[in-house]
Each structure stands twice: as C-alpha cells, then as structure tokens.
Amino acid sequence: MVRLLAVLAILGPGLIAANAGNDAGGILTYASAGAQFAYRTLFLMVLVTVALVVVQEMCSRLGVYTGEGLGGLIREQFSARSTFAAMVLLLIANAGLTVSEFAGVGAAMEIFGVSPRISVPITAVFVWALTVLGSYSRAERLFLVLTLAFLAYPIAAFLGHPNGKEVLSNLVWPHFLASHEFLVLAVALIGTTITPYMQFYAASACVDKGIKPADYRGERIDAVTGAIWSDIISVFIIIATAAAIGGSGPLQSARQAAEALRPAVGPYAPQLFAFGLLGASLLAASVVPLSTSYAIADATGAPRSVSNSLREAPLFYGIFTLQIVVGAAVALAPGNLVSLVVNAQVLNGIITPMLLTYVLILANRSNVLGTAKNGPIFKAVATVCVAVVGILSFVVLLETILGLG
C-alpha cells in the first residue's frame, strides 16, 4: 500500500485526466454497451483508444510547450466569437457531466443504503471543501485509490468465463450493427472516452504543475500510459458485463452493472462496485468542474490555480462552486439515472469533435508549438481521428433532429 501511494504521489496530469474518464458516466456507458450489444463494441474501443492517446498527447504537449491552457490558447489564436463559442460548448458539456458525477455518487451510496438526498449534498460540500480549502493534490490521490476498486473488473472478466474466441474476434475485427441504437451508443462511448474536460484538464494541469518542455519526455509517457490504462479498464468493464448480462438490453440501474462483478467477489459485488463508482464519481466531480474553471479563467486571463486561495482566484473558484451547486441540485431531481448519464455522454460525443478541431489546429501550428508541432504522420492520424469522431457525431445529431431514432 505504501509503495502504491508512493507511485500515486508522482502521478502526472495525464493519468489523472484519463482515469477521471472512467467516471460514473463512463462506467455506466461501458456497462450499458456490454449489456446491450455484448462484445460488439470492442473493436470500436480499440479505435477509440488510439484516438484518446493521440488527443491526450496533443493536449499535454500544448500545455507544456506553451505554458497556456487550451482556453488561453483559443483566445490568443482564434477570434473572440470562437473563444466564446468554445467556452459555452465546454460549459454545456461539463454541466451535463457534473450532474452525472453526482448522480453516480448518489447511486453508489444507495447501494450502501444511504439515500441520495443525504449523500449528494454531503459529497458536494466534501468535494468543494477539499478542493477549495484543503490540499487538492492529496484529495486527488485519495479519489484515485478508490478507483482501484475497478481492478476487480479484469478479474471478473476472467472469472465470468467470457467466450474467449468471440472476445478476440470482436477486438481485432469490427462487428458493428447498422442500427440507430448502436450508432448512439458508439457516439456515447466516444463521448465518454474522449471528453473535452479531459483535454482542457490535461493541458491546464500541466501548466499548473509547472512542467517544462525539458521534462516533456516523462509527461508524454504519463499521457500515453494514462490513456491506454484507462481504456484497458473500459474494455474489461464491457467484457465482464457482456459475460454476465450480455444481450439483456439497455442497462436499467447501477445495481445491474454491479452484477458483472459477481464472478470475482460473489455476494460483495454490489459493495465493491459501489466503492469504485464512488471513487470514480468523486474524482470526476472535482476534475470536471475544475476543467471548466481552468478553461474560462484561462480565456479571461484571471488567476487560475488550485494552489491559489479563494481570495486570489475568485473567478476560478466561483465557476467551480457554481458547477458543484448546480450539479448536485440537478442530480437530486427524480428520473432515470442511467438514461440521464448516457444522454450526457451523447451530448459530450456531439460537442467533442467541435472542441477537438481547435486542439488539432493549435497543435498543427508552428507559431504555437514551434518544432514541437504535429509531424506529418501524427497530423494525418490526428486528422482522421477528429474527422471520424465528427462524422459519427454529425450522423447521430442528424438522425436525432430528423427523428429517425
């Protein structure tokens, strides 16, 4: 445990950002994919992992080499209107996610028999106080330790005796379905894995932690391994859920998702799942609002650091506080948690390509990154990733508008 904490102590923004991606929304979306389409989304996850590595690396590079967060870079490199549009999109995407993080907290605590009406407000105050008044980095590590509960998913995936041949075949070869439901879930998977808040957080946290271009080698390893690690867990969530309840249709509750852990821990599956969900939700409930605060404070130029006091950075903490309050309040409203969470991921999936375009243009510009700009191969791969994500999102948006779903 001591060694584990020592490792966690030196974790960089890349791993934290990517791990926060396996948040309440992520876990429920991956579990929903396994429950609804069994192993069919696995190949998509391989492609998404490539895209995630490419995107997170670009964002970390932008943060380290320019010393600016994405919000600031967009303000300096694009028009005032583009900056405003980007900030509004990020705010909308993150507001939806913050709600789903608190809904995740509520669902996790409900498994322990605590009503969301009690757990959500207490958690909101806890997350706010830890970030604003306490030591944020210590809190971050605590939340990360809780997410280790999800290591149970790989174990469950093996013990659940999935069809190995089918898993392998779905991992290396696409088995997509030509249905609206599959397309929506594909966009939700992209939306929950490649999220704007992870991009903004990765760049800003690199700046906040003072990582210099000379140290970029280490930061690149952190960004790439963080992205791969986070997606390996995601793939195991899909496999474990598919083995347990695959083909049973869309996920109805968090408790159903916990069933996938039963082969690993037997009757304690719901409790272990709840621990993991709580850690993931707590981590993301602080990271998501922080990424909005970083971005908007960055774009306006206001002081922005978790090491600043409340008085030194009023805008930064003001935006953070507002999101926590609104997120927790909306999460307490009655409704279907899983559908709320998956819808927030779809919204993210639609907004993501728009914000990714900014990232791609910035990382391609030599006046921004100099010699550290995207090379020709990287540029081609990144362009294809952004284009594919964009086309999928556009199709879902079009189908939704035309009412084809």
Binding site: R75, E76, A80, T300, G301, L369
Partner: protein, 292 residues
C-alpha cells in the same frame, strides 16, 4: 390634456438635446480614438475608394523611454498575404483605412527590430503584474491621435469590452470599459526565459511569444485604481475643448478622480471649459473629497 402633452414634449426635447450633445461629444472624441478590436477586418480603400484589402494589424515602434509608442504602420491583408503600409501613406479612422494618393504597399518582414504588432502581440494577451501573477487578458487596445500622431494609449481589460467583440464591429470607437494606460505597462515577458526571439534584444523581443504576456508595473491589487490615471493621461494629451468633452462623458465620480490626477493648472483649464452647472458640481465634489 394639453398640459401633460406639452410637458412631455418639453422634457423629450431636453432629453434629446442632452443626448445629442452627448453623442456629438462622443463622436468628436471617437474621431481621435480607435479601438483596435473594432478596426481589425475593416476595409482598406485606395484613393479612388476601391477596396484593396482589410486591416490585419497595426504596428507601433517601441523606443526606449517612450511611454506611448507611436503607430508606424498598418498591416493590410491582401488576398492570403500581408502588406506593410507606412502610417504616413494612410488616413486612419475607426470605420476604414484609406490610402493617400498612390498606393504605397511595401512587402517587408512583418515585424522589424523594435516593432510590435498590436493584434498579434498585445490583443488577447495575458497581463502579468510585478509579482508575476497573471491578472487578466487585454480585451481591446486603444489608439489616440495625440500631438505626435497616432499613438498607443492603453489597453482595455473590461468584460464589456470583450462582450462587444461578439457583436458586429463598431464604426465609431466605443468608450473604454476598464482601461489601463500604456504607461503603466512595462515590458513584454516570455513565459520561459529562453523563448524570446532569437537574435533580438530589448523589451519588444519577447512580444508575440505564445504563453508570454505584457507586464504591468504594479501589483495586481492596484489594477482597479488605474482607470482615473488613464483618463488623466488621455485628457492631458488632448486639446482643451476635447478635454471638457471627455469629462462630460465620464460619470461625475470618475471625472473627479481623473481631475485629481491632473496638475492644478490643467485642472483649472479644464474646469474653465465646462458649463457653469457642471463646473460647480465637479468643484463641489473635488472640494468635498479634499476636505474628507
């Protein structure tokens, strides 16, 4: 029924006259000030009135000891390229830039030694205080037509100023929201010491470096006090008639604060230009403030 109508007409007439006065005062001042954010993208016309390009940037010369650098050129976007036009070859207004007789478009490096391109190097850049704290970004850059010609007056860091940029561009210079006199700004600072332009020295060398900013000569906490100083600096540069009009535009408290920044001779000259009622009111506020 006739009485209220008459009263309404009279009042409307009075309001309208005051408004007219205010608008005409603003127009006069607006002729002498230019907002860079609203100038960018405006058409550049030749002497026959034909559009030859659009304003891409405004270049100032950074000389040691000069508090308000002089505008030396306009960068004109022609097709996908940039042309450098000396200021003496153009007439600069908020709505358009007109080339004087014969086009003088010269192609040369966009930024020569000691020159700063305002849109690229200052607008939207981070402002850093003496303690290295990043405070705010420049939402606009103001140029004033002073006795020496067009010069860099200061930057505006107000949210309203940024908000105005989301709307269609203004043809008349909008008033500053939270202006900072350029004299308060010391130098350009790169984020990383080694990232200044290679082979260049001097304060302008770090201009335009991504992640860099403009350094303020005072702590961030004093930032809000700068508006009056900035106004005073602008007032001191302008003619006396215009000073009065600037003072008329300001809120009484801001005007009093600005007046306090002037020398007693400048203050007396400015007060003499005002109407009897304005003079009495401002003088009373000045005396009241001094007494307290």
């Amino acid at each position: 029924m006739a009485k209220p109508d008459k009263r309404r007409t009279t009042r409307r007439g009075a309001v309208s006259a005051a408004l007219q006065k205010r608008i005409s005062a603003r127009r006069t001042i607006a002729d002498q000030t230019i907002s860079l954010a609203h100038l960018l993208g405006r058409p550049v016309l030749d002497d026959a009135g034909t559009r030859v390009g659009k304003v891409s940037d405004v270049v100032v010369r950074w000389d040691a000891g000069v508090t308000h650098p002089l505008v030396v050129a306009v960068l004109v976007g022609v097709g996908r390229g940039l042309a450098h036009v000396d200021l003496q070859d153009v007439a600069l207004t908020q709505a358009r830039v007109r080339l004087r007789s014969g086009r003088q478009i010269v192609s040369r490096p966009v930024r020569a030694e000691g020159e700063v391109a305002l849109a690229r190097d200052v607008l939207d850049r981070q402002l850093v205080d003496v303690a290295g704290v990043q405070v705010v970004r420049a939402a606009d850059v103001y140029l004033v037509n002073g006795p020496r010609g067009w010069e860099l007056a200061g930057i505006d860091v107000g949210v309203r100023s940024f908000g105005r940029r989301l709307l269609p561009k203004r043809r008349i210079c909008p008033p500053p929201d939270r202006a900072i006199d350029w004299a308060e700004l010391q130098t350009f600072v790169p984020r990383f010491p080694a990232s200044a332009m290679p082979g260049k020295d001097g304060p302008a060398a770090a201009a335009g470096i991504i992640g860099g900013g403009v350094q303020l000569g005072r702590p961030a906490a004093q930032l809000k006090k700068l508006r009056a100083r900035d106004m005073a600096a602008i007032l001191a540069e302008l003619g006396r008639g215009q000073q009065a009009q600037v003072a008329a535009l300001a809120t009484p408290s801001a005007a009093v604060e600005a007046l306090r920044q002037l020398t007693s001779a400048q203050r007396a000259a400015l007060l003499a230009e005002l109407s009897e009622s304005d003079r009495t009111r401002l003088q009373a506020m000045l005396d009241g403030g001094d007494a307290s």
